[in-house]
Subunit: 594 residues, 2 copies
Amino acid sequence: MRSAHVGQEVTLCGWIQYQRQGLFLVLRDFQGLTQIIIPQDEAHSHVKKVLYDAPVESVVRVTGTVTSRPPGQKNPRMPTGDIEVKVKTAEVLNSCKKLPFEIKDFIKKSEALRMQYRYLDLRSFQMQHNLRLRSQMVMKMREYLCNLHGFVDVETPTLFKRTPGGAKEFVVPSREPGKFYCLPQSPQQFKQLLMIGGLDRYFQVARCYRDEGSKPDRQPEFTQIDIEMSFVDQAGIQRLIEGLLQYSWPNERGPITTPFPSMSYAEALAEYGTDKPDTRFGMKIIDVSDVFRSVEIGFVQNAVNKPQGTVKAICIPQGAVNFEALKESAKSQFNQEVLHLILKPDESLKSPLSKFLSEEQQSELIQALKVQADDVVLLAAGEHEKCLVLGNMRLESANLLELRGLVLRDPTAFHFLWVVDFPLFLHKEENPAELESAHHPFTAPHPSDTSLLYSEPAKIRSQHYDLVLNGSEIGGGSIRIHNAEQQRFVLETVLKEDPELLSHLLEALKCGAPPHGGIALGLDRLICLVAGAPSIRDVIAFPKSFKGRDLMSNAPDYITPEELEPYHIQVACNRFFVSISCFLKIPFSLHMPI
Amino acid sequence: MRSAHVGQEVTLCGWIQYQRQGLFLVLRDFQGLTQIIIPQDEAHSHVKKVLYDAPVESVVRVTGTVTSRPPGQKNPRMPTGDIEVKVKTAEVLNSCKKLPFEIKDFIKKSEALRMQYRYLDLRSFQMQHNLRLRSQMVMKMREYLCNLHGFVDVETPTLFKRTPGGAKEFVVPSREPGKFYCLPQSPQQFKQLLMIGGLDRYFQVARCYRDEGSKPDRQPEFTQIDIEMSFVDQAGIQRLIEGLLQYSWPNERGPITTPFPSMSYAEALAEYGTDKPDTRFGMKIIDVSDVFRSVEIGFVQNAVNKPQGTVKAICIPQGAVNFEALKESAKSQFNQEVLHLILKPDESLKSPLSKFLSEEQQSELIQALKVQADDVVLLAAGEHEKCLVLGNMRLESANLLELRGLVLRDPTAFHFLWVVDFPLFLHKEENPAELESAHHPFTAPHPSDTSLLYSEPAKIRSQHYDLVLNGSEIGGGSIRIHNAEQQRFVLETVLKEDPELLSHLLEALKCGAPPHGGIALGLDRLICLVAGAPSIRDVIAFPKSFKGRDLMSNAPDYITPEELEPYHIQVACNRFFVSISCFLKIPFSLHMPI
């Protein structure tokens, strides 16, 4: 309601945000706040009593006339600040009998409390805004995919079969003894089968499940914008997603520029120490191995002379102020010592290393890193991966600098980045002689590297691509293997998985599978970044706690053995008891002493 | 591609539908079929060989020139029947190595086979059409709700807590010993909590779960268009849904007229013997108690004199021809005898009853039922419910008459119907002294009947409404209880449920819950009817068999005890074994003879 409505008779339904001395109240509905003037004359004493007695957050319906606020009482910060409604009739539709906290303070309360009373938390401006933003953005994405680009929205099952290595899949007991469904982590197999089925452009806003136990800012169920296309290459998917984001991007967040920049995985690791670089600020990692090659420090020499050994550095502008905090954080958070250099205002270097560095080496270093007075340089020496600590220190330093008031990362900036050319396989952490998929076993090898698949699979790059926004991974996808023999080779020979579990997919690939590829965007994370929310829980209506609990309803909960009976399962006995009962399998005819 | 494209150079990717003698082939892509002319000259011998050797259903890419088909060779039944493509280059992208059946014959194969090779079945014209129709119709619904009516698309969790009486909910073990999530049958609680949370217009295309064991034409997971509004009444929801269906209705199915007619539950039962009447044809049930009140047949008198006793009848036009089949079906399918009358061409009645009926009674009957020569009248006497058999016989007769070529139900007609004024509670079948919710415990009483809630709950009508299309229930909803005390009374006093399981909802109702109501449309069933498909499995990409199995991947499947360990469950021992281990709890220090 605005000035244009002055003189109109209106009916409003909403919640009493507050009420003052029976004179006026503020009514909140889904469109915002409206000031309501309570009549003071005798004829309307009933209306006055009704509104005076109604507790805050009661639901009321009022009718009245829109009038201009008297001069001097207009509120320019309120969209309805020019008007008020003079009430004639009022009715309490539901009285609020209980209120643990006032709605406007809710966001300040502990998160556990917000979760417990989620239905009240949802009344907050912020939650209303976030959920409506999410709905609108998803709607725009659907328009783009479905109406503009001919994608077909196909719903795929969530009661499915366990995937090989699907250790993070929830299980769902069926009525067939011993048989279980699994809740899949993504519709990966289905989207590929749809391509084989000739649904050439598929998308779905797909519910996915991942059981990771307790992890902060992860949810056991989450949503992805799931996309797959036939007869497409990596660039085709990338351009589609850029268009998708541009089309669905909320106006109030400003335009985004396409195409997004692209960076290889190797480059990202070398320059940012991570595969999801936050490119909103500099402080890149610089390779200073050449400077240190002739420096006579034992461990530095050791490092530089190893096959993948390097010395790397980042320069933190004005880092001297936070220097102790930085060192502390490297130690406590990353359990790693980093070497440091501080350039003092008199241009001299302060460092445990400085005595080992010639003046020439010192100035080479200062030049390479563009060090200025009061900057701190952090150094790490060792094998390639060891330098990843500098990636973490880079982010940590940015946090510390921003705490001091420096703006390194423009909060209104959105830096998208494609990270490409990932390795297809990684050495298993627990057994480096074995390989595992860097992403999943359906990822196609990079066309330039295909021949390596059969000779040196550890060296092959993939056709996987990640989409990164402001240092968060918001999507990932790949061109898939469409050749049955290649897929079997990867599963059986490289990954040593039992191909039997995927026999349906291997069969399908033999029946005229088109070349295809796709991507999935993590919707919760994307909306969280767009909304500027502190956590993905702030863009989900009913999130679980980091332990996977619904604090409002108290799920998961105990259920009776009788309720489990149709599913042929029971809660496991403790170990001792299990061992006795296993034991009993042998002496079956045992005479029991009772 | 059409005549307008003649002369253009095109690249096509698709599947070889068939190929004839190296002369031409038909290429199938998502848009349809295109005739490809294989070049016969020496310069293109490679192209010819490639296409000649490629098995049917191989995926190929061809480039060539669109040309007009020679006169006399145009195919008016094919959208691309005016043109053909003269190929210059061809490449096999993936050769089809295996094909259990030709795609065009697929629909004729056994359903089990179609399910096993679903990815091939999806290539059929019919499945492509159904899935694309589904996607488009849902998209239109979203536009209507989200863009035109300000609804917010909110995703609600599927890992939730067991609902009271939720015997059909799948359970999902969590990592907390003995604790389980449940997969809810609908977002009912969440949609109400959203209303309490001030999201005044909610919708979701919601995945729901129902474990009913084996049931034909039901799916363990299914989709509903889930809607809830605050400050709305029954008529408000009904008008919204009518607009929704009108807006999303596919053009090729012709327009639908709104508002939909409405019928009370009592009327539906009385006239159609079912709460989901197929109003596409007549043959209504007629109460002929008055005619029989003075007829001296013992069991008829018995029936008429009972409190709810009636004699009812339907008249089946030209039913005499199928008479034996009808009688047989009443017996075998519904396990019930029905009395009959046949009006012979000479206007005399042939019936075991005729000797008991006076001439006047006979003609009263003929008039009441508008019986004509060769019509059959079926009669049922007894209590109200017993007459439901006539509802079944009505449908069965329609089937039999249509088998004979009569068109009773226009296959292009769509008859929507609201069924309203349901009872709020029903007597439990297993214990008629107890009441259960006719729909769910959140349904509000009918405003005219509210006072009965506390005195005679069995007699109260509800604010529930069902939407019926051509005799199938495609949706249902209600205005909900928004008063905490009333909700508690229903749960605790009427239904004898433990309100503890719903304490979060009862608490929420105290915090200023707005009046609200909603509806859910069964999407699978709706699309099935719109598409004219024989089964809901034909409008679902990857349906389960009626036993709940995925015949393609063979889910559900066995998983190892190790995989169950994190969830603290085990497959239940057989009964004998369980009893031994329970037994063991007592003689804990038992000396084991090994």
